[in-house]
Amino acid sequence: MCGIVGLYLKNKALESQLGELFTPMLIAMTDRGPDSAGFAIYGDEVAEDATKLTLRHSDESYDWDQLAIALQDSLGCGVEWFKNSKVAVFKVQTDADQALAMVRSVAPDVLVLSAGQSIEILKEVGLPENIAGTFNLSGMKGSHIIGHTRMATESAVTMEGSHPFSTGMDLCLVHNGSLSNHNRLREELKRAGVEFQTENDSEVAAGYLTWRLQEGDTLNQALENALKDLDGFFTFTIGTRDGFAVVRDPIACKPAVLAETDDYVAMASEYQALTTLPGIENARVWEPEPATIYVWERDQ
């Protein structure tokens, strides 16, 4: 099955409560996906000439300070970082290509979960409630957030196989469903220069969007192309630095519900996950149409 939830704030006054509003949404989807969970949160932006990386190491006592010093020395730029469980968020005063290349060369055993100006990805194997607690989700602030509770079907129950997947700057994708042409598509995308870290079908969907955006598509165009090229069942929720999108395949086997008020847009696999949001009683609640793209984007 899998459960998907997303919350995109239109009212900036709610940004300090993003994690608090989102925690019960993620936990409500435990029945749909109890094996792992994760979320991508947007906010706390770094400057245009800096890069924010979410890094993970399986050893919780990993020496992040040493990595920060190594990056500082080799790049000759400022590095700030903080740790959250096995994950560390690094803010590096250089462009993403340089920062990523250097992390890979000095710390090849560190996994890069995301790179961008705004995004942070936190995910683990286990019950959604425990994962929300581990990362102190309810205390987090931000502009929008996308989460996933996984019931593995296409690949193993591992942290790497849990969602969200990020394959490009500030882009993330969560998926409920299964893709049938991911193996061939993965090979084609690799030839186009997209890198993959897992055998997971959903990572291919994320990689596909990254490739389309690199080719110059808008988010809307990339999703239109995805509807043509991705074969299988899917409800996707996609996050970008400024935007939030939902799309379902033409058969629309996988559920989705959207709710909108003046304050927010929320999506979930099932309405149950939306019931704790403020003003949900008077929200516009509807089921997204198959093969139809829904996009919300903030003005720059």
Binding site: I251, A252, P255, E270, Y271, Q272, L274, T275, V285, W286, E287, E289, P290
Partner: protein, 227 residues
């Protein structure tokens, strides 16, 4: 009226209390508060009860209904009134996919829109939708009627048997073996009665009728591509 608040009781408590009415009916009117999209509300009822669900319902609401009158004052999730035998189910908002699937009898009224595969494999139920229905509605429908006051999506009535389909708005496409048919007096009469039963104010003369061309009833190799 008996009131059950699902913030305090479980869905199992609710359904058990409703099922007990089939043995000795002491309370005909029920209201369900704070349903909050939970699944399997008011399922398997077997008594002439009136159940008002005050909010949104999750999957399979009022499934297998017999005799009861269930109203959802909100949206309903997938498979509302699935396999209904008799009675009435009314959804004030929208319904998700597979509304009224395989239902044998009774009346399902959806005041908003219905999603994909509304009335899939229906076997005698009457379904009246005030809004639109999604793609593949009435797929393999066997008996009963589907009335759509709005528009119908792709492949309406694909592989249809004997369901009578009436659509007021546009039909995006007809499925295999489904054709538009002449609207005769008996059909106006049937449609008028259905709209009246559903409490929907529409002019029957503005609807078109669709049904099975019966070309797929027996296997013919010439039809192989249509199966």
């Amino acid at each position: 009226m008996k009131s059950i608040n699902l913030a305090e009781k479980t869905v199992r408590d609710l359904n058990q209390a409703l099922h007990e009415q089939a043995v000795e009916c002491t309370e005909r009117e029920w209201e369900v508060l704070e349903p909050k999209g939970q699944h399997n509300l008011a399922c398997g009822l077997d008594q002439n009860l009136s159940v008002d669900i005050k909010g949104h319902a999750g999957y399979f609401c009022a499934g297998m209904n017999k005799k009861a009158h269930v109203t959802v004052h909100g949206n309903a999730g997938q498979g509302v009134a699935e396999n209904m035998m008799s009675g009435t189910v009314r959804v004030k908002g929208d319904a998700s996919q597979a509304a009224g699937a395989t239902a044998h009898g009774g009346l399902l009224v959806i005041e908003g829109n219905a999603g994909a595969r509304c009335g899939i494999s229906m076997k005698g139920v009457d379904i009246v939708v005030k809004g639109n229905v999604g793609h593949m509605s009435c797929f393999m429908g066997q008996a009963g009627s589907l009335v759509v006051c709005g528009d119908a999506g792709d492949a309406l009535g694909d592989s249809l048997y004997e369901v009578h389909i009436y659509v007021k708005g546009s039909v995006k496409s007809l499925g295999a073996d489904c054709v538009e048919k002449e609207m005769r007096d008996e059909h106006i009469e049937e449609l008028t009665a259905l709209l009246n039963r559903a409490g929907v104010d529409e002019d029957p003369a503005q609807f078109k009728r669709y049904g099975s061309a019966r070309g797929l009833y027996n296997f013919k190799v010439d039809n192989a591509s249509a199966y």
